[in-house]
């Protein structure tokens, strides 16, 4: 088990390292000059060059990358013009566009994205697994056909359509809910949940569709396996077969997908955040890509990568818990 975790950790570092190098390389293929964008369209060449120097963009690309890695490992000092500030490790540098510490920019937004991801995930897992299970058990019946239709509709409808419709219905017409505004959990837990309810539901409705389909197919496959037939032959009740054995066997693919989705979600549920005006990581990513803000983009890719890798490692452990045939070595 320890060996397994150590190997995963080493793999994670390698993956993140490769990711950062790739994004750095791709950045220089993107159109747009970050120094020009930071300086403004009416800056002259001298001013742009001055800003370029201040951003450290005159250094060779490998040197810039090395400096970036050094910041992550050991932090670094930077000038505000009037004083020197320390950016502690892991320091992703300063945003090219507003000179703020990238770490601060991200940590301010992570609670928003985390709140959205966690709440939505609970709903989509309950809804997706429940619906999938019901479809599998009512195979061929009207219930299954209706549920299949609904899940297809869910998969096919973009979140900004679902989000807008939900807001028009519940906020504008019925006025049961406020138009979502992010309220930190630490400030007011009730308002936090109240305001996030629609974004959770919108995201969950779209996401749960694929979980329902996956659970259904996985469940049908498991129910057709030999050991289930054996249980039935021994007179084990259907509820016991489904609850204790078939569901456990059907869950691993669902866990794998959840891990991936959960990790990716930390890179920002871009459309959901934009639709509901939630100041999360997704909004920051869109803004930074448009502004060619490399330190922020690389940092966000690394953060997303980190969560994906961690979530997948966690999924491996859950695999073993769900299916006793799996052994971590």
């Amino acid at each position: 088990m320890t060996g397994h975790l150590l190997r995963r950790l080493a793999g994670m570092v390698l993956v993140l390292f490769a990711l950062s190098a790739l994004v750095y390389a791709l950045f220089y293929l993107m159109p747009g000059d970050p120094a020009r964008l930071a300086c403004g369209p009416r800056c002259n060449t001298i001013q742009v060059e001055s800003v370029r120097g201040q951003l450290g963009l005159n250094d060779p690309v490998p040197a810039q990358y090395w400096h970036f890695l050094q910041g992550i490992a050991a932090g670094h000092d930077y000038s505000t013009g009037t004083s020197v500030q320390h950016c502690g490790a892991p320091c992703f540098g300063l945003s090219y566009q507003n000179d703020q510490q990238v770490t601060d920019l991200i940590t301010q937004r992570l609670p928003v994205t985390g709140s959205l991801a966690l709440g939505a995930m609970v709903i989509w897992l309950l809804l997706g697994i429940g619906t999938g299970l019901l479809s599998a058990l009512r195979r061929g019946g009207l219930t299954e056909r209706v549920l299949t239709l609904l899940t297809l509709a869910g998969t096919a409808t973009p979140v900004f359509i679902v989000g807008l419709l939900l807001m028009m219905l519940f906020c504008a017409h019925l006025r049961w809910l406020p138009f979502p505004t992010y309220v930190p959990f630490t400030e007011d837990p009730e308002q936090w949940a109240w305001n996030l309810l629609l974004p959770w539901v919108a995201l969950a409705l779209v996401e749960s569709a694929k979980y329902a389909r996956l659970t259904r197919s996985s469940m049908l496959e498991t129910l057709a396996e030999d050991h289930i037939r054996t249980f039935r032959a021994h007179g084990v009740g259907e509820r016991g077969i489904v609850g204790r054995h078939a569901l456990r066997g059907a869950l691993p693919p669902v866990i794998a997908l959840s891990a991936l989705d959960f990790g990716t979600m930390f890179g920002g549920a871009v459309l959901t955040e934009s639709m509901f005006g939630l100041p999360g990581v997704g909004q920051l990513l869109v803004r930074s890509v448009k502004a060619v803000d490399l330190p922020v983009v690389v940092a966000l890719v690394l953060v997303t990568g980190f969560f994906v890798v961690v979530a997948n490692a966690l999924a491996d452990v859950l695999y073993a818990v769900a299916d006793r045939r799996v052994v971590l070595t």
């Binding site: 000059d33 001298i46 639709m275 005006g277």
Partner: protein, 574 residues
């Protein structure tokens, strides 16, 4: 000016709030009166105003903001030597004193400008505002760490081109003198009769040197205005302002400052902003937006429906022109007859429809916007009518040597959808020109790529969509950057797309700049525009119109010809 399509995202966030939003001018709420806004009764102090925006109010540092007239939200915190007149319509395009006692005293043929500060001016901490603080505020805008502002200080102040800001050059800028704590004198390279307009920009806000913490100043800039910053989250995504108790209304004739608190939230979707303002439930009843127009579908709903909702729509015309630009160094646009043929062929009706119809844009035949302050002088040198004059265009093409009256050209545009320089307008131009026998190939480029290419002399396409907006409501910042030959930039960002370098035009620009009588200057700017228009270096397409909803509790809506958007300093929620 500013050219909205090329503005950096950061700049867009910081200042275009005003410009984009803008549009300026005109009339205040439809069917409502300027005083009363959307509700009855006199405006009173108190309450919380919500501002719902798409773009964050980022870089909230007076040195970094690029604003027209000091911006909308920034103007609540930063007072400047002069400011815009906060009145509806044409009266709102006047420049008036703010921290200064008057619009300045010109000397030495408008190359020296002297200002005196009013009595009783204080910062949010109660300390006095001095002329030295204004000098320091301007000096720090030269620092590379705080870049982003307009280019005029660099270009106009003696030694401005070489100065690197107070962090590197402790001696300061000699072009600004402060003989005493209430007097400030500016020495310029050349006559600039419109200096009072420039003094409205946030770089003219005072910054106490002892409180300057460089790039971190934007987190809590020291207020000289009626509100102070109590919260600035996510680089201006959520800004909370509360009353500055040390601001004195007796020293400020312009800002009404009715609400006790102003809550600015951004990052919101345009459709959601309009839905919230329309529904007006809870806090949204006391909400406005400074950067979000009603879309065509929403306008149709408002116009055809609820009369109360219709009364809550404000209309404005910011000084902005969208146009087709030619690079006469690229064939076949070196031939004036080809340029004229295209000018005759354009269909301004379809171009206007491409950006949402006549409620959201008005056809333009002049480069200068149609407000008196710009010196607008009507002309239509190549009358295309409403639908384009294909026959005349065909004749010109034949005269230009295209015997069969057929020509193929490439039109470069931004790929950003629903943008004034985007694919919808490009397609409208393509269709119109096709009727005149001109085949247009479209070349859509990603926003940053588009911006870089059209502003580089080496890569500028022959034919492209672009636009220009006013830094202040006058012909100067509208004509000079685009048509003054001395402003052609060979190795950087160039805005003189027609590469016009006519000594007569340059001389007339210099002559007008000497005028301190702004009305007389406006007249001459208008005449110059008409003369330049004959060269067909641009084909004006339309001037945007701005339609904005306000919440149902909002009172005292003021929309000036300067900004075209509701002025948040005038709004009351009670």
């Amino acid at each position: 000016m500013r050219q909205l399509s090329v503005i950096s995202r950061r700049l867009a966030a910081a200042s275009v709030g005003l410009a984009l939003a803008a549009g300026a001018a005109a009339c205040g709420p439809e069917g409502g009166d300027a005083e009363g806004g959307s509700s009855d009764g006199k405006p009173t102090r108190g309450g919380t105003l919500s501002v719902l925006n798409q773009q964050a109010q980022s870089d909230f540092d007076p040195a970094r903001l690029y604003t027209s007239g000091g911006g909308n939200v920034p103007s609540l915190v930063f007072r400047t030597l002069t400011t815009r007149n906060r009145e509806n319509g044409a009266a709102g395009s006047k420049v008036v004193p703010d921290l200064a006692t008057d619009l300045g005293t010109p000397g030495k043929n408008a190359t020296v400008w002297t200002y005196h500060l009013k009595d009783g001016l204080k910062y949010e901490d109660g300390s006095p505002i001095t002329s030295g603080d204004i000098k320091y505020g301007i000096e720090r805008s030269f620092a590379a760490e705080l870049s982003g502002g307009a280019p005029y200080l660099r270009d106009w102040l003696v030694g401005g081109a070489r100065y690197r800001g107070p962090y590197k050059d402790k001696k300061g800028l000699d072009a600004i003198e402060t003989p005493d704590e209430k007097t400030i004198v500016f020495h310029l390279n050349k006559p600039e009769g419109e200096f009072p307009y420039l003094a409205t920009q946030t770089q003219f806000a005072p910054v106490p040197k002892a409180k300057d913490n460089g790039t971190k100043y934007e987190e809590h800039p020291i207020s000289s205005g009626p509100y102070k910053v109590v919260k600035n989250e996510g680089d201006g995504e959520h800004l909370v302002l509360e009353r500055n108790e040390h601001w004195s209304a007796a020293t400020d004739d312009e800002r009404k400052a009715y609400p006790d608190r102003i809550d600015v939230r951004s990052g919101l979707d345009a459709a959601v902003i309009n839905q919230r303002l329309s529904t007006g439930s809870g806090k949204d009843a006391a909400a406005v937006t400074t950067d979000t127009n009603l879309g065509p579908a929403e306008l149709a709903q408002v116009v055809g429906g609820d009369a109360q909702l219709k009364k809550r729509v404000g209309t404005g015309h910011f000084g902005y022109t969208d146009y087709i630009a030619f690079n006469p160094k690229v064939k076949p646009f070196d031939n004036p007859k080809v340029r004229q043929a295209i000018a005759y062929a354009v269909d301004r009706t379809t171009a206007v429809n491409a950006v949402g119809g006549s409620s959201l844009a008005e056809p333009a035949t002049t480069y200068l916007p149609e407000q008196a302050s710009f010196g607008h002088t009507p002309y239509d040198h190549f009358p295309a009518g409403r639908k384009g004059n294909a026959a005349k265009a065909g004749e010109l093409l034949k005269e230009a040597g295209y015997k069969d009256g057929r020509l193929t050209v490439t039109l470069t545009h931004d790929t950003t959808k629903q943008d004034e320089q985007g694919p919808e307008v490009a397609t409208a131009v393509q269709d119109a020109l096709k009727r005149a026998g001109i085949t247009v190939r479209l070349n859509g480029l990603e926003h940053n790529d588009f911006s870089d290419r059209i502003h580089s002399v080496g890569t500028e396409p022959g034919l492209f969509l672009t636009g220009w907006g006013a830094d202040w409501p006058s012909g100067g910042p509208f004509l000079a950057p685009i048509f003054d030959g001395r402003q052609i930039v060979e190795d950087g960002y160039n805005f003189n797309s027609g590469l016009l370098n006519d000594p007569a035009v340059n001389k007339e620009i210099d002559e007008i700049n000497k005028l301190t009588d702004l009305k007389a200057a406006a007249k001459r700017w208008g005449a110059l525009d008409k003369r330049i228009g004959e060269r067909a270096l641009t084909v004006p397409l339309f001037h945007p119109v701005y339609k904005r909803l306000v919440g149902k509790d909002i009172k005292n809506v003021v929309i000036s010809d300067w900004t075209g958007v509701l002025d948040v300093s005038q709004v009351a929620v009670r």
